[in-house]
Structure formats: C-alpha cells, structure tokens
Symmetry: C2
Subunit: 584 residues, 2 copies
Amino acid sequence: MYRSHTCGELNLSHNNTTVTLAGWVQKSRDKGFMIWVDLRDRYGITQLIFDESRTDKAVFELAKTLGREFVIQVKGTVIERESKNPNMATGDIEILVSELTVLNQAMLPPFTIEDETDGGEDIRMKYRYLDIRRNPVKNSLLFRHKVTQEVRNYLSDKGFCEVETPYLIKSTPEGARDFVVPSRMNPGQFYALPQSPQTFKQLLMVGGMDKYFQIVKCFRDEDLRADRQPEFTQIDCEMAFVEQEDIIDMFEGLTRHLLKEVKGIEVDKFPRMTYEHAMKTYGNDKPDIRFGMEFGELNAVAQHKDFGVFNAAELVVGIAVPGGAAYTRKEIDAFIDWVKRPQVGASGMVYCKYEADGSLKSSVDKFYDQDDLKKWAEITGAKPGDIIFVLSGPANKTRAQLSALRMEVATRLGLRKPDEFAPLWVVDFPLLEWDEESGRFHAMHHPFTSPKPEDIHLIGTEPGKIRANAYDMVLNGNEIGGGSIRIHDKDLQARMFELLGFSKEEAENQFGFLMNAFQFGAPPHGGLAFGLDRLVAILGGQETIRDFIAFPKNNSGRDVMIDAPSAIDNKQLDELFIKLNLNS
Amino acid sequence: MYRSHTCGELNLSHNNTTVTLAGWVQKSRDKGFMIWVDLRDRYGITQLIFDESRTDKAVFELAKTLGREFVIQVKGTVIERESKNPNMATGDIEILVSELTVLNQAMLPPFTIEDETDGGEDIRMKYRYLDIRRNPVKNSLLFRHKVTQEVRNYLSDKGFCEVETPYLIKSTPEGARDFVVPSRMNPGQFYALPQSPQTFKQLLMVGGMDKYFQIVKCFRDEDLRADRQPEFTQIDCEMAFVEQEDIIDMFEGLTRHLLKEVKGIEVDKFPRMTYEHAMKTYGNDKPDIRFGMEFGELNAVAQHKDFGVFNAAELVVGIAVPGGAAYTRKEIDAFIDWVKRPQVGASGMVYCKYEADGSLKSSVDKFYDQDDLKKWAEITGAKPGDIIFVLSGPANKTRAQLSALRMEVATRLGLRKPDEFAPLWVVDFPLLEWDEESGRFHAMHHPFTSPKPEDIHLIGTEPGKIRANAYDMVLNGNEIGGGSIRIHDKDLQARMFELLGFSKEEAENQFGFLMNAFQFGAPPHGGLAFGLDRLVAILGGQETIRDFIAFPKNNSGRDVMIDAPSAIDNKQLDELFIKLNLNS
C-alpha cells in the first residue's frame, strides 16, 4: 500500500506518529528555507512541510521541483501546526516530511483544479478526468453513489428484487427514436437499445416477480436540448397486485426516505393535484410549489369591456408578483421583452401595479377603472405592493407562457431556493393527447397505461376525455418520476393500440409477445420510473445534471474526451452487412 | 391493495383471522363437495378450500371454473388444517374462502409451472415470463439480487464509489469484436458498446476517485459458445495507490464475505499459485482444486525405453484416478474414445492399473516393467486401487488434453461438488502470448497490464518471458475474476502498444486520450473485474448461467421471446446514413 492514511483523516490525535501519504500536489509555496505543499486526495488536503534545517538535503531539493498535480508519496511525522486552519479537517496538523517519492510527474493542467475553476465547459469536458479532481464534480459523483445506495437498500428492504433486463432488444417505431445495433449473426437485422425496460418489467410481473426495480441506463436518439443526454439513468420500478394508491405510498416513502437520509429534511405527506388543476393553476403539469403566484383567470372581469385584445382572447390570466409594485418602468419593459422572446412567444403583456396606498395603476387604465382592477387583485391574490402580470390568447399557449413567466419571476426573486424541497403528486392525467401533426392520438405516458375504469366508456365517443391511472412525482418544478397502473387485459391493450392508430399487424409484430403474455395470467400491476440524473441534481441543489454524470456527452451527442462516435473500418461494416449511405 | 398477506406467510398464529390473498392457481382438486386450490405467489403457496356446505353457492360454482395459472383474489378465514403439511411454510393452515374474484383468466401454459417442468429449453425461452414463475428460475433471480446487494454494500462500506461509465463509447479494433451503434447526429460515425469500462475506470483513477466499482453490462460480438451471452455483467473495480497485494486482500475479503453471507461458508485464506505451476500441475490456468489428481510428468522415467510414441513426445504426463483400478476394459475404452473426440484431440491414451495387491498392469507392459511403473505411480501419486491415465505429445496441447480428462473424470466420480467451494488466486501470468495466426504478440489480459518491474528489462530481448502484475481469482475450475496492476506511465504504455504491433498513429488514434491523461498526474492503480453471471451461477451451485439471467439470448444471439434482432425500416436506415449490404 502506498499510504498509511488518507489526506483527510489526520488530526492532533496522530501527533508525533509517523505516517505515509500519497496524492496530488494541490499547491506549493517555496519560501527558500521552507517549502509548504498541500497534498490532495479524494478525502481531503494535508499540509506537508519541508524545512531546510530539519529535512534531508536531497529531499528538500526534490521538493523544490514539485509542480501542480504531481503525484507524490511522502513519509513523515505528524506535528502540530503553528497557525491552525479551523476550516480544514486536517487544519491542526502538518507533516514534517522525511522521505519523498515522485510517483508521476504532471504537465500543467489546462485549467485550475479548484472549486471555482478558470476552465470553460468545453475544455473541462475534454479533460474530464481532471475536472473530476475538482470538489464540485467529485462530490456530485459521491453524492450520486450515496443516493443510489439508499434507493437500493430501501427498496431491497421492502422486498423489491433488482432484475437486469436486456440492453439488446427490439426496435419499435412508437415514441422517440431508438439507437440501433446491427447484428453480425443475423444479417440485415438490428437490435435496439432500450428507451426504458417497460415491456420487460411488465413481463416480470406476468412472471410473478411481484416487486421489481432496476437502476438502469436508457437510450433515446433525440435532438439534444441543453440538459438532455442520449444515455440516461432510470430508477425503474414495478409492482403486482397494486392500485395507484399503493404505488404512491411506496414511492412517496422512498422519496421521503431519501430527503431525510441525504438531505436531513423531513417532509410531510406529499400534496396531490389533478392534472387539470395543475394546468389551470400553474399552466404546467410539473408546478414548482415552493412559492405561490397561482394563476387567476380574469375572463369574467376583464372581458366585455372595451379592450379588444382581451375580448378576442380565449383566456385572460394573471399572476400577482410579490413586491412588484416597486418595479421601474424599465424593469417592467424587460419582462415584456422577455415574454415576447420566441422561446416564450407572447405577443404582449398587460400589468397592473397595486400600490401600497391601495390604488391600482394598470397599463390599460383606459379600459378598466379601480373597481375592475380591484377584482383583478382579488382573483390573482395580489396585495398592496404587488404587481399583476396578465397574458391573454389561446388557453393552452397562454398558460404555458404565463408558466414560463412565473418561473422566471420566481428565479429573479430568489424564490426557487435550492435547499427547499416541495414534492407533490400530479394525478389524473389524460390518457391520450391529440397530435396535430400526425392527426391522431398519442399516448400521453405510453401505450400500456390503463384508463380509469369509470372513463373506459368514453373510448368509442370521446377518447380525448379519458383520464389515465397515471401519476407524476414533481419536485421543485421538475418531473422526477412518472408512472401508471398498466393495462393487464389483452383485449383492452389491443383496443388501446387501435386507438393509437396501430394496425393489427403492427401491434402484433411489435408487441405481440406482451399481448400473448397477458393471456397466460397477467396480474394487475403498475409502476413508476424516476429520472436518476435529474433527481440527484435536484437533491444536490443544482440546476444542471452534467456534474452528476461522470462522462457526459455534449449537445451533438459526442464524447469529446474519447472522441466518439468515430469512423469504423470497412471490414467491420462488411461483417455487419451494412455500408455507409452519406447522401441519404 | 389486492391482498392483506402474501401466500408465504400465514400460519397458525393467524388462525381465525380474515385475510385477502391474490396469486396464481397452481393446481385445483375438485372432489365434488369440496374444492382445494393451491394459490401461488412469489412468496409461497397457500391452500384454499371451497366447501359446498360452508361456501356461498355462487363462489363455489365459480371456484369450479378455475384453471391452472388463473389469477385470482380471495377473501376468507384462516383455519387449521386437518392434515398438515410440514414441508410447507403455510402447511398448518388453509383458507376457507368466502369471496372469490377472477382477476385474469389464463390459457393452459405450454409447459408445466413446476420445479421439474416438462418444457424444453426452446419453449421455456420463448415463454420466459412463464419460466420465471418456476421456483428454480425465480429463486436464481432472487439469489442474484442478494449477491449484488451484498457486493454493493460491502464495497460501499469499504469506501468504494459506484460510478456509471458511458455505454456509447468508441470502437477499438483490439480484442473481441465490438457491437456498434450508428450515430444519426454524426453521419458516417459509430459508437461502440463497451466490452468493459477498462479505460474509463483508469481515467477515474487519474481523476482521483481512488476507489471505484460498478456492476455493469458489457458487450462482446463474438460467436457464442454454449454458455456465453453477447451481453454480460461485470463487477468492475479499480483502486489507486495500490499494489497487487492490496487488490488481492480487498477482493479476497469481498469473496469471503459473499461465501459467508449467501452460502454460510467460512473459507480460509485463499491459496496462491503461479500461472506456471497451475499449467504444469493442472494443465490449466483455472484449476479446480476441490480434488487432487495433480499432473505427474513422466518424461524422465517413461522415455528412453522402447516405446516410440513416448520417446517422440515433448511431454509424457499422467494423473492417478482414485479407485480407477476397478474400471472394466469397456470403461477404460470409453475414456480412450473420450480423449480422442475432436473437442479434446488426443491421439491415444496409455493407462496403468495399480492393483490392490500392489502389482501394476499397464497397456504398455511390453515396454515397461514393474519397477518402471512403480515410478509412474510415485510421480503421479497413485495408490493401490487407482489407475494412471497417461497422455503424450506437444507440451501445451497435451496438458490441455489431460486437463480436460481430469475434469471429466472428476465429474464422473462426483468430485466436483456444487456445495464445496475452493477459491484460489493464480498469479504471475505472462504479459504477452504469441499468436501464431497473426504472427505477433497479444496482450494476455489487455494492453494496460503492467509488467513486473523486475522483468521490464526483457522487453527488448525476450518479451514472451515477461511476467505481468496480473492475477485471476479462480473458483471451482472457473475464472470468476481477473485483473492487474495497470501501467500508469505514458512512455511504458506507448512501448506496450508498440510491442503489440500498434503503429504510433493507431495507438494515438485509439488510446491517445488515455496516454494524454497519464501526462497529467496518473497515480499507480490497479483493479479487477468479476464475471457476475458466472459468479452467481457457481455460488448457486449451478453449471449454467442462463437461469441466473432474466432474459437470456440463444446461441445465435437472438431473444426468441421478443423476436430480436429484427428488420428496421428504410426511413430509420436513411436517418442513420447507412444501408444494408447483404452480399458483403
């Protein structure tokens, strides 16, 4: 072993003992007669001291040559520091070095290995192994490990069995694009990488495994938004002989356990909200409820006056921004510009200040008197000192726009506190959503989600109104988990595929194995999947998932460190019975 | 919840309580006035009773319709059984059913859902979800879960951090064939699925993670032998600032822990054996040491007589088979035929019975007298009552043949006891092995394995004699884990690639990122990987890994249940910039 202790554990109780440490040179201060070196490993930093008067000359000379990030091994004596550093675990001691070995030299790193580095995103990704040496990334990876250990132990204690499902499966055109893998042994055929183990976990329920989970990589070949990865990790769960309430109980328990174990936070029973309520109140099916600013619908009080814009709108809806009466005209204009950005897409914004003296002052005073505006304040819950922001237009779009504004305002007001956690369940999702582009219904969750029994009669008449036995767990404005009670009846599943526009042949060809399985005694079952990358990032109080993934890919799906993907040679292509077709 | 209890937990302490159970009908016996049903779930079997005189008529009639594998829910009262079954956890009670709900009907399964099924391998794979209902498969999956939980908890307690490495990486022509994944966003380029996370775990060491592990899927597109899978699972581990001894200590500790926790077996410190000794003594680098039959080399005593076959052989080597003197001529001939099979490839076999009376009788008595044969007995350790089997020919081939024979004999003699565990370390592997076909050296483990420092001087002169800092953990004749201390010096790594026939450009193109990383302060490091599928199967006392994999593939790499791989449509191919090339 290259060390007797780590760089994070020595203190005064080790005083005068001889120790061996190994690690990286964090920094070195050479005062001529005395050299101090901060030696770093995963566990901490320990100060080394080389003293011209006490250290062997050869060792002292060698110490002068040490550069940042050199890998060294030292033997020495633990001594009490003259000037202690109470902010460091090892701050009471230092090591008077007697032996020094350079295990490996290091070139100057392309960015500083500090909590606040001077390296940009691109260079840090290219040298990710150096980035991982930095505390923020290293600690994120350690935190992720702690979370997954807690999840595994909690679920195992509850009787869940982790089962590995295959990675080389079958491609299905439904949903997002698959990554595919040509088969050498089956010419012209391809495996697909799983977008989720959905059908396999259902088959495990048919197989009587009763309680399944898996922490598993999933793959989606989609155009990548800023914070998406082509490969991502799910905590995938399924239970048999359960109803929605059982699933909610179980995974609320898990989440509460996590919050307690990894954050030290106790939370109450999670509130529940229907999809409809969430959309009307927050314009969003994953509302951040750490703060208020609930939507107030103003149609009844703002329409039928002389303001044509509102009169023509399907929905007039506003939020009260706390303290917003103090905004300057310039600040308000900035918000108006913000909602007009293409990413938000509003055509304009009306506002109304509720002054501290109780008077109301709006941008549409021409059309509304104080009594009218008072009603706006009542409905949006504005108090003196607030400002009301009002958007109008087609209902769905306007809600989405106001939701974006609400989040932006909250961020600027510091209401989205990373150390506050407000989980909730959103329930009663629609089973289907209409897709304008393809002119047909899509499954809102996936084709295996069961309709609520009381809504099944709507299948033939108003399928868009069928609610699903589906539920999402939402945390701080993020969907961190989602699931449903599944269909376990072959005929209902066939009906569902029909509703989604599958021909009998397509359904049979793609999901015949599942429908067949349902004929051999499928139990009622349901489950849920958490997005682990996101969950860990939120628990870690971060907005971005990248620091919680050891080797992430960039927005073009490239690993810039190893330079993948890359060309392969013709022999490989031939063996796989494919060739390039770059002009397609 | 569909149940108040599982089918495995009720006993006399629940007498007279009302319970609700749900599960599958294992079997049903209809005696006219009385119907017994065995209800099964993952946890056990509970006997239900429907009694014409005590059960509601409608319920009784419905019970008559129940077929095998129907999914039902029942409510009833726990009562004491008249004829108890001491072999069942629930054997003291039965449930007098008052309510019965059929949750799902079932077609007759294509094979019996019993411990000993009438279904062959193919049909069981096609309906794997039914196969999983059988105890042998279900228990194997639960056992696998238990093993992985133990591994994770043990390593976490020791300070290891599980880090997920990417699945979409870069193809490297070295070693086995990669599965590749065409990239839609990077036309003409391909990802590869990892054969192991080798380079990533080394980069994590460069990144200071210090102790890494991962239970991770790996992929090899090789022609599948009987018990190989294209996707398999590794327990992958790496440590920094360690020497071989530290790795051996740590993972011997893990394995000892597993044997104790999952098998209740305490084992001593594992013996160690050099590769050279293993090859000479067992003809094999993964010897099964649950039994003896060590090789005795007979050249000195069997050559230079008049037996031309032996005289012409590079090696004459034998084993003493305990009790073998009792073999009939027919039995011996069967062994001779066995070694002559093409899979073994011997041209013949000489034998020598060591009779109980102390006399020796060989198939080559013409050339050897009693004194000669006595020496054979001494060298092979034969005792009166044994038989000596002797093979001869080129050394390596002959050893491999005798090793195969030794294992076959041991199997027939029942010496390979599934409940006996004899782990050992094989150490001091050669760094390189000569490949006749390509006329160059290959890395015996992989190109990142470090040579023993004392052998480095042989690089320029006799590279074939360099020993590696490599070690395998062997259990009952299987390599269950293997690893090495890695090269952490850029120049030595470059030298190694050169030795393996890489041009500078190839080395740079494929592994430049790793050699670059070594320039920024790589610590000494090493690790090991266990084959989880095999490890679990051996711990479970089984020869085959399939029952320990939920959804295995067949020998053509097909998943016959979901029918994968399969054709994909032209639109998908176009998007990926490839086309089929079936005439390649």
